[in-house]
């Protein structure tokens, strides 16, 4: 089977302004969402307690809410269904330092008249640990981007590095916007998903850039737009196929993987789509806007080649004893 076969390169770069506008709009919308609505930090980062309770049969959610409201300490606690209607999750900002009777045990006592249930999970994070985890999370994001920037600069050229980092900032921002929009709880696994998007988005961008780098050497037309069009068209098939397999796999994770990792798989799902889009429509145009010059690059490459040849010549001369 073969779906993507183009005799002529697609004219993508001539439409780059339109895609640029779309990307800028999406990024700005995401930033606005993040700044106004803000993240719904889960207990990993905000501190607090989460108690997951499974009932035999349908969970009596109103009774549970009443039982919890009867204790003033848990004011502001939220009770929601979790995955199915026999399972609920209670979230409170409270955390207890006591090892003996903790909030999970107290909830068990509070709920004892609401029916037959089992406490399946109690997660508690102190406020101090929460802020430590948040700092660590931001730090890891920053370090990953830095590492990638350095690697791409070494393997390609600094403009490629800037363009790829812009593409991945674009992806992560939009993914975060989606997380805010859909009220997904931000926990450690959401952070892991964002870091994975970072790697994935880059993976995609690099494949396209690799082709562009090759195109610069082999394609006669010195116009960067044309080279990009041709290279992107050549990799379009791969980009789509890999994205599809990854997308379907993440989709099975989202649908069948269980409620606990739904935030993780949702974030990834958004990331795969945005990451694919950005490698074609964001990274490459940025390369153009940054004023990447095919001529300069070729001259530099030619010079490098010349220097290497000269070196070899010298060595040959040295070895044959003429120098």
């Amino acid at each position: 089977m073969e779906v993507f076969r183009y005799k002529k390169p697609l004219a993508l770069m001539s439409k780059s302004r339109r895609f640029g506008m779309l990307s800028i709009t999406l990024v700005l919308l995401s930033l606005a969402l993040i700044l106004t609505k803000g993240f719904n930090y889960g207990i990993d980062f905000a501190g607090g307690t989460l108690v997951q309770v499974k009932y035999e049969g349908k969970a009596p959610i109103t009774k549970v809410r009443e039982a919890i409201a009867s204790d003033k300490t848990y004011e502001g606690a939220s009770v929601t269904f979790f995955g199915s209607d026999d399972e609920i999750v209670i979230r409170t900002k409270m955390s207890s330092k006591a090892l003996g009777e903790d909030i999970g045990d107290k909830m068990r006592t509070l709920l004892k008249d609401t029916g037959n249930f089992k406490v399946r999970r109690v997660d508690m994070v102190g406020a101090k640990v929460g802020s430590e985890l948040r700092e660590k999370g931001l730090m890891s994001m920053f370090l990953a981007i830095l590492g990638i920037l350095i690697y791409v600069s070494l393997r390609f050229e600094w403009r490629f590095a800037i363009a790829s980092v812009m593409a991945l900032v674009h992806d992560v921002t939009i993914a975060m916007g989606a997380v805010v929009l859909f009220g997904i709880e931000v926990n450690l696994d959401t952070l892991a998903a964002l870091l994975t998007i970072l790697g994935y988005s880059l993976n995609d961008t690099i494949i396209v850039f690799d082709r562009i780098r090759e195109g610069i050497r082999t394609i006669k037309n010195p116009d960067l737009g044309a080279i990009i069009d041709e290279s992107v068209t050549q990799t379009l098939s791969r980009t789509t196929l890999t994205s599809l397999t990854t997308f379907f796999v993440v989709l099975t994770l989202f649908v069948f993987g269980g409620e606990i990792i739904r935030g993780f798989s949702f974030t990834l799902l958004v990331g795969v789509v945005v990451g694919t889009y950005s490698s074609i429509f964001v990274a490459s145009p940025v390369l153009m806007w940054l004023g990447f010059s095919v001529k300069d690059f070729r001259e530099k490459e030619a010079e490098k080649l010349k220097r290497e040849k000269e070196k070899e010549k010298m060595r040959a001369m040295y070895e044959s004893g003429t120098l």
Binding site: M124, I148, L202, N203, L241, T246, V250, G257
Partner: protein, 526 residues
Amino acid sequence: MKTLNFRVILFAFALIFGVVFSIPSITQSESGKKITLGLDLQGGLHMLLGIKSEVAIESRIKSMAATIKYLFDDEEIIFDELRMVDGERIDFELLDSDDVKKATALLKKELSGITLTQNGMKFSVAMTPQEVTRTKQNAISQAVDTIRTRLDSFGLAEPTVAKQGTDKILVEVPGIKTQADEQRIRELIARAAHLQLMAVDEGRDARVMAMSPAEAKSYGDVILPDVATHRKYLLRAIPILDGSMLTDAKVGFDKNNQPVINFSLNGQGSKIFGDFTGKNVGNRMAVVLDNKVYSAPNIRERIGGGHVQISGSFTLPEAHDLAIALRSGALLAPVFVEEKRSVGPSLGADSIKASSLALALGFVLVIAFMFLYYGMAGVVANVALIGNLFLILAIMSLFGATLTLPGMAGIVLTVGMAVDANVIINERIRELLHEGKSVAKAIEDGYNNAFTAILDANVTTLIAAVVLYAYGTGAIKGFALTMSIGILASMLTAIVGTHGIYQWLLPKIDRKRLNFWFGIKTEGAK
């Protein structure tokens, strides 16, 4: 047919290695190295504990004060009183200026790790910063040892207790069945287990219910509550002896068949206990545990031999846990919870079911898709993908790595991304075939052209995964680990493995049947 090339042999070895070493994990056999399931998959308790190390400092200062008092009394140096300031230093003033030299020399000789400030006859004794650090570290490592001993004696499978960072303790206990059990374990860990035998202040105890703590202090007494009733006791503040002289503690039964704890004292403890009981016949002696009075029996006669009994209103499990706590010794400083995650075994089982289903479905989808789209080339890629899965399991088994729920997600994700390398290669080969190259040339050039792209793409993803591993905690580390192993394994299976398979199959590949082999219809047959 061409003889086997080195690539296909290498791949075959990798595959055999993968299968052999992942078998123990897949069958969960008793022998052999295998993957351990994370607490989120098998159920259990994960806690990060902090420690109030300032309490350890305070008690060091307290014992220093006791030593100073003993030394000065012994040498007949007169002073006003010892004042503990902010729990970090001891101030006192000498009353005779002739004693200054003697006192200074004595303190310097007998106490280590202190700084001594002297102004006229005013003295101030504090711990040096190094001594403070040492004491804090000591409190942590002692807590780690104590908690480990307690959990081990409780009889649970493989609990983990380890110091984390400079001031935290990681506790992981797998295989807890109910929440009540979990609570019991937490209480056992938290138990200070500070045992004291104290004399009742018989002259004033009758007035205890109306007495303020300040008044009690002025007599050198403390007021402590009874463990079960509302009764309070007035006790001499300086104990007769404490738990440090205890050698053993066991659960026994009294004549009413109620559980009690019998404990034995060491030589010094037995002597002190014998002397005290001998001198105080007719008075009461309180058995105090964690500042609660368990019993305060009358002393009928001198008790030698150093065997003492704590009776109280224990249930049998309580008595059992208490005996463990007493045997393991007291915690130098109390611990508290910074982070706690507990998962019931049924939820863990559900998570395994759900993520395995996702893995299986994702796997089938990808395999079917690759076959449909690429024909035999897809099958070759699928062989590599299967090899990749086994390799991940084998490497994780060999390292005894922990598989967490995010780790499962990492494997699922790897399945989606591992075919990427083969997609890139297959696309390159197809391009070259369309250009009319021979099959052998198309395969060789295809691999050469694809290599840099695959390398660069994988290294960048690996950078993100490594950072995640370095900065992640707990379950997230598992995700980063499976991702990293998956990336490395896929480089081996997808680049080396499939290349070898093509070289091996090459003589069979017919240029006329490209649709079967590579899933394309091309006109330029040569």
